[in-house]
């Protein structure tokens, strides 16, 4: 190996191994296809009927503030001038509580505030018909509760994406916010008996709430949470994984909205970081084609590598290819010259 090739290869290794400030796209585990929305206008609806008034959210989320926080979380992504991706609330309010995808029938991309747990709303052995039903008759749909039988009480918010594994195209995405049932609660437990307590205060320095039901303090900031989940809604993943060798998070990752950690009361992720903006600009560029990834079966991918549109990752790739280029040229010349006439 020549000195030049060695140097380039070494640089490739170093750069690829270095912590990178880099957005990452969600991909199918089997095909590697990156998630994306086909149409640039993606509708969604919000179901938050009287959430604050019913005591499911902090009083700061009342009088439409909860809905406004959700809208702001989506708009933060589509407001970037480099993209024409439009996340549009098509209906002012929805009564739907059904999450998932209907293979026949109309679907909507739903943001729904669950209130309390399904084990409480429909206890085992209660004879509630929802216990043996699915879809429109399932307990989470009927009682608008969080399905803590299938899911987990430690979940604060959760996004379900239905997509084509071959192309990565998203057909439906639903966001569940696991809100408080209004009874009691404390932040000291992993699996609270009464859901999670969201707040909607303006980003001012305030104290953290100690127990549920407190006002004028920061709890789980709703807009902060929705902005992050909306990143998943459009097909983005976390830039790193805490404690994962080779992909561990660094301080450089921390300011991004898609960072996988948040502090109680945090609201800084309401605003996109440069890396988040780069992601939405690269994947959904204004007036240009959506950045897709090669998958194993659709055969029409653009050839991009998912998540390679990063300064470090892309540079590492280019350096690697640069190291290869002379070899490939030589190999091709050899093939050309040794091909029998």
């Amino acid at each position: 190996m020549s000195r030049r090739t060695k140097a380039l290869a070494a640089a490739t290794v170093l750069l690829a191994a270095a912590p990178a400030l880099a957005y990452v796209r969600s991909t199918d585990d089997g095909t590697g296809a990156c998630f994306y929305w086909g149409p640039r206008q993606v509708p969604y609806v919000i179901n938050a009927p009287g959430a604050a008034e019913d005591g499911a959210l902090q009083a700061s989320c009342g009088a439409g503030a909860a809905v406004a926080a959700v809208r702001a979380g989506f708009e933060e992504w589509s407001a970037q001038t480099c993209t024409d991706l439009a996340l549009v609330e098509t209906v002012a309010g929805s009564a739907s509580t059904q999450v998932g995808y209907l293979r026949s029938g109309a679907n909507e991309n739903l943001v729904v505030f669950r209130r309390g747990w399904c084990r409480d709303a429909a206890p085992d052995g209660s004879g509630d018909p929802c216990l043996t039903a699915s879809g429109a008759g399932a307990c989470d749909t009927v009682h608008n509760c969080f399905d803590d039988r299938l899911l987990s009480r430690s979940t604060i918010a959760l996004t379900t994406v239905t997509y084509s594994p071959s192309s990565g195209q998203i057909f439906d995405a639903d966001m569940e916010l696991n809100a408080w049932d209004g009874a009691s609660g404390t932040f000291a437990t992993t699996n609270p008996s009464d859901g999670w307590y969201f707040s909607c205060l303006a980003p001012l320095a305030r104290t953290l709430c100690g127990i549920y039901g407190q006002d004028d303090c920061n709890a789980m900031d709703l807009q902060n949470t929705v902005t992050h989940e909306a990143g998943h809604f459009i097909g983005l993943a976390h830039p790193c994984e805490v404690g994962q060798a080779g992909n561990d998070c660094t301080s450089a990752d921390a300011p991004t909205t898609m960072y996988p950690r948040a502090n109680l009361g945090e609201y800084s992720k309401r605003d996109l970081d440069a890396d988040d903006r780069q992601a939405v600009c690269d994947v959904y560029p204004a007036g240009a084609a959506t950045l897709r990834c090669t998958s194993s079966s659709d055969g029409d991918g653009s050839g991009c590598g998912c998540g390679t549109a990063t300064p470090t990752g892309a540079l590492a790739t280019l350096l690697g290819l640069a190291a290869l280029a002379p070899r490939l040229r030589r190999l091709r010349r050899r093939q050309d010259t040794t091909t029998p006439a």
């Binding site: 969600s26 199918d28 059904q98 084990r119 990063t310 790739t317 690697g320």
Partner: protein, 178 residues
């Protein structure tokens, strides 16, 4: 004719491919509160170490649910029997797939530790979703937290946050939970 060895090419090619793949982990995501191994064990009805025999996905209403059948080698908590079937949200059925943020995935022949929770009707789920499933390889137990976002908070003294650790330590921590 002089023929240069292809070794440099064979070295450089994987490097370029690695650069393409290192930055492309599969991902799913949801927001959880910071959780310890001990807390996850407390809310689990059973904690087992075993091997995944098979998985199968199906539609349940508008959701895709994947069931994983696990052969139980040892039960660290509870007594779920020799085999346990846990259901997790998400999976692939035909030409559609569903990704539920923060949900664990299972593969046949995978050695796992699972924190199982009774889901009613004799069914089981995974306590804490991705926080409740570890893959065991070479003595290390590792949860897939790629899709997990944590809302941080202090943990109880002496408890360890969910994360990779030797499987012996994981067992000790689970068995110590009361």
């Amino acid at each position: 004719m002089l023929r240069r060895p292809l070794v440099p090419l064979l070295v450089a090619a994987p490097l370029a491919l690695a650069a393409l793949t290192i930055h492309a982990p599969p991902a799913r995501a949801s927001t959880f509160v910071e959780t310890s191994v001990e807390e996850t064990a407390r809310v689990a009805d059973a904690v087992v170490r075993g091997k995944v025999l098979r998985t199968a996905a199906r539609w349940v209403g508008g959701r895709i649910v994947t069931e994983a059948e696990i052969s139980v080698a040892s039960a660290w908590k509870g007594d779920p029997g020799e085999r346990i079937v846990v259901a997790v949200p998400g999976g692939r059925v035909g030409d559609l797939a569903q990704r539920v943020s923060g949900a664990p995935t299972f593969q046949a022949d995978e050695e796992v530790v699972v924190f199982a929770a009774r889901a009613g009707g004799g069914r089981w789920g995974v306590a804490g979703l991705a926080l409740g499933k570890y893959r065991v390889e070479a003595g290390q137990a590792r949860p897939d937290l790629s899709g997990v976002r944590f809302e941080t908070r202090p943990l109880a003294l002496g408890e360890r946050p969910v994360g990779a650790m030797p499987v012996e330590e994981l067992e000790r921590r689970v068995r110590a939970v009361r």
